[in-house]
């Protein structure tokens, strides 16, 4: 029985405003899922809610990891349990070197019971692994000495997120528009890296369960989704195979909107409210 991340009837509100309205999604380890949908449909909200962002209030439903409801867990517990997200806009931490940040992170995730102040993974072993992973991602050695996301270009941030995923070897990873802001070659490299990490060929051989949030096809080229989900108005309205992804990035969401008028109306209302609020 593969490990499972199961989201059931998930409702999430941000600042009291409902965003997710009953999401159902089950990911087994080893599977690749694509999550598509128009802007503002709730894709990033799902990612943040799964990671345990305190600003995303879960108003109903459950998130289960291998049968255990993790809704009450904080982000630390979730990441140490093997759930990861590559952020669309990762935060900068000035003054903290990438290598130091990752050495703590890697130790914590691989040794979930570690208390602060307890030993880190040996420097030599960590260096070796980090250098290897950076070579896979064709990153300059200098990168490890830079401060976390501080002054990084869009592309550097995305690559740094993939590097972190490679080091942390999560069981489940959500990639939130990891292809945005990258040029064609960079997307290709990212795509290959994610595939390699996902298959476990760069790490300990364990496969990941991956949820790729994207608008494009490039990232999916090397990561052919077993399932494609379409989100509209805070719900997953349709699930298909790779052909659904191909349809959506060539033809857009008009057919989906027409097929699910209720969700489309909700989407419309959410977008208008945003427009007024802004």
């Amino acid at each position: 029985m593969p490990e499972t991340l199961k989201i059931t009837d998930l409702h999430v509100a941000v600042e009291g405003k409902p965003i997710l309205r009953g999401v159902n999604l089950t990911i087994h380890r080893g599977e690749t899922h694509a999550l598509m949908g128009p802007n503002g449909s709730g894709k990033s909200t799902l990612g943040n809610a799964v990671m345990g962002h305190p600003g995303y209030e879960i108003t109903g439903g459950s998130i289960e990891l291998n049968g255990e409801n993790i809704v009450e867990w904080d982000a630390t517990q979730r990441s140490r349990a093997g759930i990861f997200m590559a952020f669309q806009r990762p935060m900068a931490i000035p003054g903290v070197k990438m290598a130091d940040f990752l050495r703590h992170a890697t130790t914590n995730v691989r040794n979930p019971d570690r208390k602060e102040g307890e030993e880190l993974i040996p420097m030599r072993q960590f260096r070796k692994e980090l250098t290897e992973q950076m070579e896979h991602l064709r990153m300059d050695k200098e990168f490890a000495r830079r401060y976390v996301n501080d002054g990084f270009s869009g592309g550097e941030m995305k690559r740094a997120e993939i590097l972190q995923m490679a080091m942390l070897r999560p069981k489940f990873a959500i990639l939130d528009e990891t292809d945005s802001g990258l040029d064609v070659d960079a997307v290709k490299l990212a795509s290959e890296s994610i595939a390699a990490i996902g298959q476990g060929t760069t790490g300990n051989g364990d496969q990941m369960g991956i949820l790729i949030i994207t608008h494009h096809d490039k990232l999916l080229e090397r990561n052919a989704p077993d399932f494609t989900h379409v989100m509209l108005g805070g719900k997953i309205v349709e699930t298909g195979g790779i052909e659904l992804a191909q349809e959506l990035y060539t033809e857009g969401y008009d057919r989906v909107r027409a097929a699910y008028p209720d969700a489309a109306a909700t989407e419309q209302a959410m977008t208008e409210k945003d427009a007024i609020a802004n």
Binding site: G52, A75, M85, P94, G95, F101, Q164
Partner: protein, 435 residues
């Protein structure tokens, strides 16, 4: 009114009794007597004084403290700065009474004087007199400078003769007992071409104990000399801390002065550096970390008196709870100080919305060919930053500590003594509270 109240325990009788125990040269007795009269005349500062506008000391009662008469028996707290450092010598004092010291014969034989100031001034009075009489800290400046000049005891002296390079750091540890008074005075003299590193730190016997420190520091760095001076104040958060500190940096001389300001309930510190000879250089580093209801006020002054000098000041503060820091910086450039290059910077990181940091830079420039710049930033640790680190396996506490240490990294990078960086990092880590 306030001066009457304030002097109950620092009475004429107490002062006379104190003086009767001193075995000091007449010129020093004169300095003490003059300062004592001034102390009696001066009122406690109030918020009506420009200097004290932001620092309320109405709850400070000098009458609760008394002249330090003898060193009480205490359990010594751990000193941080000297850990893992091969020292050339050290001193320990309790309530400004010297209790222990050691000094390597290697340096003593080269004429270096190091130890408690009162013992050494009794022995080398004639030699030290001119430095006392330069009065870097003006004994008559305010109530606190007068009290220190009149009643200082114990204290620390480092005198390095011409051309001697002391390449082993020296350590001063000043401990304050519960309810104790520390009226220490530090005098450092580096003659022409001399070099030294002095690590000074202060601590309370435990985290709860209160006390009073009213001190002075005078650093005289003569022509072509190089001094690294570190001053870590790591008292409990119940200590009152008043200090006047002044350095003179001579021609082609270099001073690196690092302050770690972590403890005390209320601190009012004047830290002044004067560049008195051409091509002098001073680097000033300040690391402040506060919590609870602490109030730390540091007024810094970079005084360019001679041409072609450089001064570079960086103060960084991270604040928790309802604490408050005040940094007032002044760059003063005299008419003679052409080609001055002066910089001051203050960055503050709020770890709580209830904390407050005041940042008040100032420039007073009389020369016309100078480069003087200042900068100040204020930011806060936000939930998204913490969340990001937590999704990488950090606990919230660990994330806060990491973000704070990242914030201080820039100033740590400037501190060239590894043990100091480590000690500051450790002391700060211990003071990180839940946010």
């Amino acid at each position: 009114m306030s001066s009457m109240l304030a002097s109950a325990s620092f009475t004429q009788d107490a002062f006379d009794a104190f003086m009767a125990t001193r075995d000091e040269p007449g010129w020093l007795t004169d300095i003490r007597q003059t300062a004592w009269s001034r102390f009696g005349e001066l009122a406690m500062p109030t918020s009506r004084d420009e200097e004290w506008m932001r620092t309320d000391i109405r709850l400070f009662k000098l009458s609760k403290f008394s002249m330090p008469s003898e060193a009480p028996e205490i359990q010594s707290p751990r000193a941080l700065l000297a850990e893992g450092v091969e020292l050339g010598g050290y001193t320990v004092s309790v309530d400004s009474h010297s209790t222990e010291s050691d000094f390597s014969e290697k340096w003593a034989s080269k004429g270096v004087l190091f130890g408690s100031l009162d013992a050494l001034v009794a022995e080398h009075g004639d030699r030290l007199r001119p430095y006392f009489e330069r009065k870097l800290v003006d004994p008559l400046f305010d109530k606190f400078s007068a009290l220190n000049a009149a009643c200082w005891s114990g204290g620390n002296l480092l005198f390095v003769p011409k051309g001697v390079r002391v390449d082993e750091p020296l350590h001063n540890f000043s401990i304050l007992s519960d309810g104790g008074t520390d009226l220490g005075k530090t005098l450092v003299i580096l003659e022409e071409g001399a070099e030294a590193t002095l690590l000074a730190e202060s601590a309370s016997v435990d985290e709860e104990s209160g006390g009073l420190h009213c001190g002075s520091i005078e650093l005289i760095v003569e022509k072509e000399a190089r001094l690294r001076y570190v001053n870590l104040q790591n008292w409990s958060n119940s200590v009152w801390h008043f200090a006047h500190q002044m350095a003179h940096v001579g021609a082609n001389a270099n001073l690196q002065w690092t302050i770690g300001a972590l403890g005390s309930r209320l601190a009012k510190v004047n830290q002044r550096v004067a560049l008195t000879g051409s091509d002098a250089e001073a680097q000033v580093n300040g690391v402040m970390f506060t919590q609870g209801k602490q109030h730390l006020c540091y007024s810094t002054h970079q005084h360019h008196q001679a041409p072609h000098c450089q001064s570079d000041l960086m103060y960084k503060a991270a604040l928790q709870g309802t604490s408050r820091t005040v940094w007032r910086g002044m760059i003063q450039v005299d008419k003679a100080a052409q080609q001055t290059n002066a910089y001051q910077r203050n960055d503050n990181l709020m770890l709580a919305t209830t904390a407050r940091a005041d940042s008040i830079p100032g420039l007073e420039i009389e020369a016309d060919d100078v480069r003087c710049t200042h900068g100040s930033t204020s930011g806060r640790v936000d939930d998204d930053q913490l969340f990001y680190a937590m999704t990488r396996g950090y606990t919230r506490q660990e994330a806060v500590r990491m973000i704070v240490s990242g914030f201080f990294q820039k100033v740590f990078d400037r501190i060239t003594i590894e043990s100091v960086r480590e000690a500051l990092g450790e002391a700060i880590g211990q003071r990180v509270r839940d946010i």
